[in-house]
Amino acid sequence: MAHKKLSFSLLAIFIIAVTIFTVYREEINGKVNINKHYYERLAKVSQDINEVWKRGDYKQLMQQGISCEEEFGDLFDIIKSDLYFRCNPSFLNCYLRNFSKLHQSTKVFFQELPRHNNPREKSFYQLISKTNFISKELPAFTIKIQATASEENTKSVEIYLEDSCNDTYLPKRIYAIAPYDENKVHLEWKWDNFDEHIFIDKNYVTFRDIKDWVDFDHFFSDFKIKNSIPAEAALLAAPATGLSIEQAKRYCHFRGKKLLQSRVLDAASFHPVALRKTKRSVIFRGPFPWSYERKNSQIYKYWHDQIPFDQKLCAKIFTKECFIKDRFPFPIEVSASWIGIFNVLGGYAEILDNKLSYAKNIHPSGMNFSLKKRLHQIGIRGEWNEKELDDTSFNIPGIKEGFSEMKLAFRCMRVIK
C-alpha cells in the first residue's frame, strides 16, 4: 500500500514537473522562433532599402503622391534624371519617413536619430566617418539607419549603407598629363596605377553634401561654410562653391577620400583610344572627353567659325552661353568622360590638388567663360591664389576679361591600396 502511495506521489510530481517544463519550453521556443522571424524580416527590409538607396527612383515616389518637399523643394519637377537621388541620404530620409505608407503590411519601424551637431534636428540616418569614429569593421564612410521589427523595440538592427553610386573606377594603365603635343612626345610625363585602385566622384560635391558634413562631423567648427549653405532645399543640389582648398580637402577626408588630383582628372578625362593596350609608350590625347578626334568635333568647327553657336552644343559643354537665368541651371549629365565622370568640361571650374605644379590648382573650363575660349579643353590648368573669387585672384591662360565671381566647385577621389 505504502509502495502504491509513493508511486502515485512520484507520478504526480513528475506530471507537474513535465507540465511546468513544457510551458516554460514553449515560451522559450516561441521567443527563439519569433527572434529568427524578426531578424529575417529585418534582413529582407535591409536588402530592399539598399536597392531603393541605389536606384533613387523618384518617379516611383511621385506616383505614390510623395513629393519629398521637405528634402528637395520642387526638385522632382525640375530634375529629369534620377542621378542626383541615387545614394542620396535625403532621398532615403524621405523614403523612410513614408515607409509605413508605402509598405503597410511590413512591420518594420525606423528610428529618428539626432544630428550630431544639431540634436534638435533629427533624421532617419546618421553619417559615420572614420575621422569621427574608430571602427575596425566598417568602411571609411557609411550612412547608418536603425530599424526595429516590433513596436516594442526589442529586436533591432543597424543598417550601414555605402555610397555605391557616385564614384567610378579608373582602370589600371599608364597615363600621361596635360594636352598632347606631338613635338614634345619625348618629354611627356607619365605615371601608372597598376598597384592601386582609384575611384573618382562622378560629379561635383553638392551643398547637400556639405550640409550633411556640417551636421554630422563632431569636430566641425568652420561656421563660415555653414552660413554659405543655401536655405532653399532645391538649391542644395547645386555644386558646393566658396570653399577654400583646405576646406575642400577636409570635406574629402570626412568622406574617406582625398581632393581630386590634377593628374587623376587628366587620366579620367583623356580618352585612351585603345582600351585594352594598357602600357602604350605613346599616349595620344584628344581635347574633348567624348572622342579623341579634334578637327571633326563640333566644338572645333565652332571655334573656327565653320558653324554658328547652337544650344545643342550645351549638351557637350555647358558654358556661359548655356546659362539661362533659371532657378536651377546646373546640368547633371553633361560632358561625360570615358569612365563616366560628368562635367569634364564646362559646368563649374574645379579645384584640384596638383602634386607636380602646386600653383596650377584649378581646372578653369566652366560656365564663367564663353564657348569660344580655348580653355575648354582637357588638361588646361589655371592658378588661384585663394584670396578672392574675382578676377584679381586668378591666372588663367587666354583670359583677359574680368569676372566678379568664379564658380569654383570640387570633387573627391578614393585610393585603395
Binding site: S7, L10, L11, F14, I15, V18, I28, N29, V32, N33, N35, K36, Y39, L42, A43, S46, Q47, N50, K54, K130, T131, N132, F133, I134, S135, K136, E137, T142, Q146, S156, V157, E158, I159, Y160, L161, E162, D163, S164, D167, T168, Y169, L170, P171, I174, W191, D192, F194, D195, F199, H218, F219, H253, K257, K258, K279, I339, L356, S357, Y358, K417
Partner: protein
Amino acid sequence: MTYLMLVLMTFFFSSCHEENSSRFHEEIYARWFTAKKIEFVEKKYLNSVESLTRPTNTVQIIFSIITEANQKDCFYYSIPGQGKMGAILIKEVLSDSTCPSFPQQPYLWHLKNIIFKKIFVLEKDNSINLSYTEKNIDKKIKITLFNILFDLKSKRKLKRYSSSAEARKELGLTIWKTHKNILQLRDKDPYKQSPNEFYQAIKCHDFNEDCIEVLKNSCHQCPFGFFTVVGRNCPSGKIKYCGPDKCGEKGWPACPRGQFYTDKMDLTRCQDGIGGFCRNGLNAICNGEGILICL
C-alpha cells in the same frame, strides 16, 4: 505504474529532442547572420559531395565563425561509430583564440543523435548550407551571411564604372544587431592637433631591411586614411603612413609614380629615385630609412 511512467518519460524526452533540433536552427541563425568571418580549419570538408563518415568515433573540427560580438563559434562533428550516433558540437571561444582540438564541455550547442552530411559555402550568394539527417529525416539549414567579404567577391574584377563599395552579400550593405556597439567616438579632433603633429606622418605598417614586418598593419584605424611610400619593396607589402597625403611636398615622402616605373627601373632600393616624384623645384632623395623623400 512503473511501465506508465516509463512510457511517459520516453514520450517526454523524444519531444525534447525535436525541440532541441528546431532551436538549434533558430539560434545559429540569430547568431550567424551578422557574422564577420568564417574560417575552415579542414578545407577537405568544405563543398565536398562525400558525407563525413571517417574516422569513426572521433570529433572533427569543421569550421569556425566569428560572430558580431567577437566570439568564435567552433563547429565540430562527432563522427558516429559502432553503437554511437553522430552529434554536432559548437564550442564558443574568444575570436583571437584557436579552436581546441578536443572540445570540452560546456558547449554552446550539443545536437545529438544526428548524421551530419555536408557543408556548402556558396560565395556567390554569401550563404552557409548545412545538411544532416535526424531520425531518417533530411534537414537543411541555410543562413545568409550578410557581412562576410568572401575572396571571390572582394577580389572582384574592378573595371571602369565599378564603384568603391565593398562587395558583401549586397554591394555596400552591412547589418549589425544594435545591442552590440561597434563604433567608438574619437575623443579629440584629429585636425586640432598642433600643425606639426597633424602633418606628421605616422607609420602604420613597417618592414625592416630584411623585409620582416616590424609594425603590424593598423592602417584601417587612420582617421584620414593612409598612403604608401616609395622605397623598400617587400613581397609582403609596402611601408605605409597614416595621415593626410601631402606626398611630393617639402620634407614629405615622394608620391609613388606607379608600379610600371618602379619595376622597370628594378627599384629594390630607393637610390634610383625614379619610382617617385616631387613638386616642381624639389628633388626626390633617399633618406636613411630607405624611403624616397622630397627636399
